[in-house]
């Protein structure tokens, strides 16, 4: 079985020039691994997600496959920016996407603070209806991650956080 070279994308912090050659990487079909490295800032996350969409497009995925992937990866990256690297201000985040036949295996790694208690937040959905003043303005992120993924596993290895999960592609699931 042929091994495809991994496609590597780097989305660097604000103000650092990136050449077009580094940004435009063609992705071969047939199980190529997409690797994305980005700085832990809200703007780098936004750019990283656009790069990820671009990298996944040649895999023949539809919007109904890619939209939930973008949403889940956005939620995971936002958590890293806002919590793991909150004190440091920034840091490096690595995203690895391994396409399979009917799913994507995704890993997000960072060297920030561990999850409090070493476990993932439960991500319960709020019990609605609530009065307008009592509606939550946050806490939906983990609920969305848990709802849209399978096999969600958090590990802390030395100084590194790793969140791994799978997402179905190519099905007519209602999500």
């Amino acid at each position: 079985m042929r091994t495809w070279p991994p496609a590597v994308f780097r989305v660097l912090p604000d103000g650092i020039a990136v050449t077009p050659a580094e940004r435009t990487v063609s992705v071969a079909h047939g199980g190529v691994t997409v690797r994305l490295e980005l700085a832990a800032t809200a703007t780098a996350v936004r750019e990283g997600l656009a790069t990820l969409r671009q990298a996944l497009a040649p895999l023949g995925l539809t919007a109904s496959d890619i939209d939930p992937v973008e949403l889940v990866v956005a939620e995971v990256l936002n958590n890293v920016v806002e919590h793991a690297y909150a004190e440091a201000g920034t840091g490096l985040i690595r995203v690895t996407v391994r396409p399979g036949l009917r799913e994507l295996s995704i890993e997000v790694e960072d060297d920030g603070h561990p999850m409090p208690g070493g476990v993932l937040p439960c991500g319960d959905s709020p019990v609605l209806p609530l009065a307008v003043d009592n509606l939550p303005e946050g806490g939906f992120g983990w609920y969305l991650i848990r709802t849209l993924t399978r096999d969600l596993v958090y590990t802390r290895i030395g100084p590194r956080n790793c969140l791994a999960f799978r997402m179905e592609i190519g099905s007519d699931q209602p999500h």
């Binding site: 809200a42 973008e70 949403l71 936002n78 609605l128 209806p129 946050g138 939906f140």
Partner: protein, 114 residues
């Protein structure tokens, strides 16, 4: 964060002219909505036809915008794209907001189809 206000018969329409309400934009979104609704219109329709992506930070900002309007005003949503609709549906916030297919229809004063 570009948001335009158009006043119609029965509502003020706020058209968000951005493709994303995400973590990078949530605070500016909230601030801009606050500026545009300082006169507390009784009914505000948020026209999201241009918004392709909304994450949980964006969702939180929309909820915050509704709270900012206060008890005398009502925030409704219109023209959700599929990705945005999914976030409201999965979090069941589609049960909290009135959601219209189209902002002009929502604000025309004509009886609603549903």
């Amino acid at each position: 964060m570009q948001i335009d206000r158009l006043d119609r018969d029965t509502a003020a329409i706020l058209r968000v002219r951005e493709t994303r309400i995400d973590a990078a934009a949530a605070i500016r979104f909230k601030d801009r909505v606050r500026e545009l609704t300082a006169d507390m219109p009784a009914r505000v329709v948020l026209d999201l036809q241009d918004v392709q992506f909304l994450d949980s930070s964006g969702l939180g900002a929309v909820v915050a915008a509704m709270k900012l309007l206060g008890p005398g005003s009502k925030l409704e949503l219109a023209a959700l794209t599929p990705g945005v609709e999914r976030v409201f549906r999965l979090t069941r916030m589609d049960t909290v907001f009135a959601i219209h297919p189209d902002a002009d229809m929502a604000a025309s004063g004509l009886p609603r189809a549903s």
